[in-house]
């Protein structure tokens, strides 16, 4: 314990985060092994790990870099579809499931990172609301393009087309991505353990980045761009680093997510999914990695448990989102909360004092 105290605050906080994730994994894994959780919850385990990775990676842009990105699902979909193509092409070359998933996640991450770079270069010239709307636009563009993407492979290699399945000119072989119908006939490779490993990897990348020289530069740009620029920080470069790393991690999570299902459509990765991930980050606390993880878990399981209230649950989402924003950002409400806390504390003190008085009375007698 003495050693733990000597560590600096950041390292200790990171260790707590890793520890929390590992404990959660062990608990859930043993519960699943003992069949103590329902099959619907067990089916959520892989999506939860994917959402945790997405929340952590979006936190890098929204919380650490301070820019609102509304197109995170776009990068997720790039990773998802590249991952599916790679995995089905390597079906014979790498027969081991987890190794194939690993390769597909890596390639998915690289392509999503590439997409993030291509999007990021123009986007990083903008700030604030403009940046938000352009990331939204890019998210929609990516969804639209994937909606028109046809891919398949045969003996002669990979065929891609943007018109229709016939245009692939395939000689037998297998169609992997079929336009608006999305990826079909996916081999289910993802499992909870791989998801857990990806969460650890994502955490490792993001936490190390945040606590590095680069991370401090990114946060300096967030806190005051002009001041950061005046001390020689290349603001565009550091914002771009955060954006690309976040996109790549989202792509890896996308590859994991897609290979948990037998088919997946591009429409799944629309604006609403981007908002869903943003809600994890916002409710968990912007810049707070641990909060984002908890929010992702709770907000994925809760809607399943709340199925009985049906359409009201999305309404609840909206109300909670507005309420959290008002409570955390309005000065009047915040000072009222502080007042209330102060009063409660004082009442606690009074009661303690009363108790002391009562004891004193007993002694006097």
């Amino acid at each position: 314990m003495g050693k733990l105290k000597n560590l600096n605050a950041a390292t200790r906080s990171n260790l707590i985060t890793y520890g929390m994730v590992i404990v959660l994994f062990v608990v859930m894994q043993s519960l699943a092994a003992a069949k103590a959780i329902s099959s619907s919850t067990a089916g959520l385990l892989v999506p939860i790990t994917a959402y945790i990775c997405l929340a952590i990676s979006l936190n890098l842009v929204v919380g650490i870099s301070g820019e609102l990105s509304l197109g995170h699902a776009g990068f997720m979909s790039v990773g998802a579809f590249t991952g599916v193509i790679v995995a089905s092409m390597l079906a014979e070359a790498i027969p081991v499931g987890w190794a194939r998933l690993l390769v597909s996640m890596l390639v998915g991450g690289v392509f999503a990172g590439l997409a993030g770079f291509l999007v990021g270069v123009p986007v990083m010239r903008l700030h604030g609301d403009y940046l938000a709307i352009v990331t939204l636009a890019f998210g929609e563009i990516i969804k639209n393009l994937l909606n028109n993407l046809y891919a398949g492979f045969d003996g002669s290699g990979l065929h891609l087309s943007m018109t229709n399945a016939q245009a692939l000119g395939m000689d037998g072989g297998k169609i992997v991505i079929n336009g608006p119908q999305g990826a079909v006939g996916i081999t289910k490779l993802s499992n909870f353990a791989m998801g857990f490993l990806l969460v650890l990897f994502t955490l490792f990348v993001v936490l190390n980045l945040v606590n590095s020289r680069t991370g401090r530069a990114i946060m300096a740009v967030r806190d005051n761009r002009i001041a950061a620029e005046s001390v020689g920080i290349n603001t565009t470069k550091y914002r771009l680093i955060a954006f690309v790393v976040s996109a790549a991690l989202a792509g890896m999570a996308g590859a994991l997510y897609a290979q948990n299902f037998s088919s997946i459509v591009p429409k799944k990765f629309d604006f609403n999914t981007s908002i869903l991930i943003l809600v994890f980050v916002v409710l968990g606390g912007m810049g707070n990695i641990r909060g984002g993880i908890i929010a992702a878990i709770v907000l994925t399981i809760l809607p399943e448990k709340l199925r009985f209230i049906g359409d009201f649950r999305m309404l609840m989402y909206a109300i909670v989102l507005i309420a959290v924003m008002l409570v955390t950002n309005n000065r009047t409400i915040q000072s009222k909360i502080a007042d209330l806390r102060e009063r409660l504390r004082r009442r606690g003190d009074d009661q303690a004092a009363l108790a002391v008085d009562a004891e004193g009375g007993v002694v006097d007698e």
Binding site: V62, R125, F138, E140, N144, D311, F312, M314, I322
Partner: protein, 293 residues
């Protein structure tokens, strides 16, 4: 004739975008916030009009009027409840709140009216105009939409330049602190802008649903985003800019649909926005603002 038909449809759709964009641009100009929920006010306007006409059997004019009044009130309530407490907050917080309001409106509509699309009956019940021996058919709603857009733009321009309230709005968008020192009630003015913007959204909703007669809880979100795109292309904060951007975007969208493909039309529309922001971040008619330290 195909070209002319597309052009007319494009101008008509663009006029709807322009009316929505006017609301966006005014709100952005004065409150410096991206009102994400603006698109959903359009949808609410459409539903109010639909309910008045189909369920209550009211005449068209009354239905439109009620829809405008309803949306105006809605806009002011939303501003008072969700945006006003965040006037001093960072823009990220306000934007997320606006997304929350947008979700709130969509899901309320889902609970009230259900997810199944409603078939909206056009508010303009006139025969189509035929030109060139019937080769070119112009729907009456297209003409009404374009005329409404011009009318709204002219009256808004006059309103902001001639009336006291309009001048107060311009003053607030320049400098809120200085405006307050001059005796302008900033809160009332901002509230007023939301009222006007939401009223315009109701008109846009009725016109949009008359042209494309399916009404769903998500009807407003994509046109809303595209209208914001139009406002940015035209130069945010500029009234003629919003109208110009809207019409341009409508034409681009219809032509992209006709000549390139329905699936890629949205990608092209958003592509135009990105190209525009890279070449001229201030928009076509916007003023460039230099950052001061």
């Amino acid at each position: 004739m195909g070209f002319l038909t597309n052009l007319i449809n494009g101008v008509s759709l663009g006029s709807v975008y322009a009316i929505i964009a006017l609301g966006y641009t005014m709100v952005y100009g004065i409150a410096k916030m991206l009102n994400f929920a603006h698109g959903d006010v359009i949808m609410v306007g459409g539903y109010i009009c639909f309910v008045c006409m189909n369920n209550l059997g009211l005449p068209v004019a009354v239905a439109i009027l009620l829809s405008i009044v309803g949306c105006t009130c809605l806009g002011m309530v939303v501003e008072r409840a969700a945006y006003k407490p965040l006037r001093e907050a960072p823009s990220l917080a306000v934007l997320i709140t606006a997304i929350g309001v947008s979700y709130f409106l969509q899901n309320s509509a889902l609970l009230i009216w259900g997810a199944d699309p409603k078939v909206f009956k056009s508010v303009v019940d006139l025969p189509s105009l035929k030109f060139f021996e019937g080769q070119l058919v112009v729907g009456p709603i297209n003409i009404v939409t374009a005329l409404t857009c011009v009318l709204i733009m002219v009256s808004l321009t006059l309103f902001t330049s001639r009336t006291k309230m309009g001048k107060a709005m311009r003053a607030c968008s320049e400098d809120k602190g200085a405006a307050q020192l001059m005796g302008i009630n900033v809160n009332t003015t901002i509230s007023m802008v939301f009222a006007i913007g939401s009223g315009l959204a109701a008109i846009a909703g009725v016109l949009l649903c008359s042209t494309y007669p399916t009404l769903m809880p998500t009807t407003g979100s994509l046109p809303g985003i595209k209208a914001f795109t139009a406002a940015v292309i035209g130069g945010i904060g500029s009234i003629p800019g919003a109208a110009l951007g809207g019409v341009l975007l409508g034409i681009i969208e219809i032509f992209a649909k006709a000549y390139i493909g329905t699936q890629l039309a949205d990608a092209i529309v958003f592509g135009v926005l990105i190209v525009m922001l890279l070449i001229r971040p201030a928009g076509l008619l916007g003023k460039e603002i230099h950052e001061k330290v």
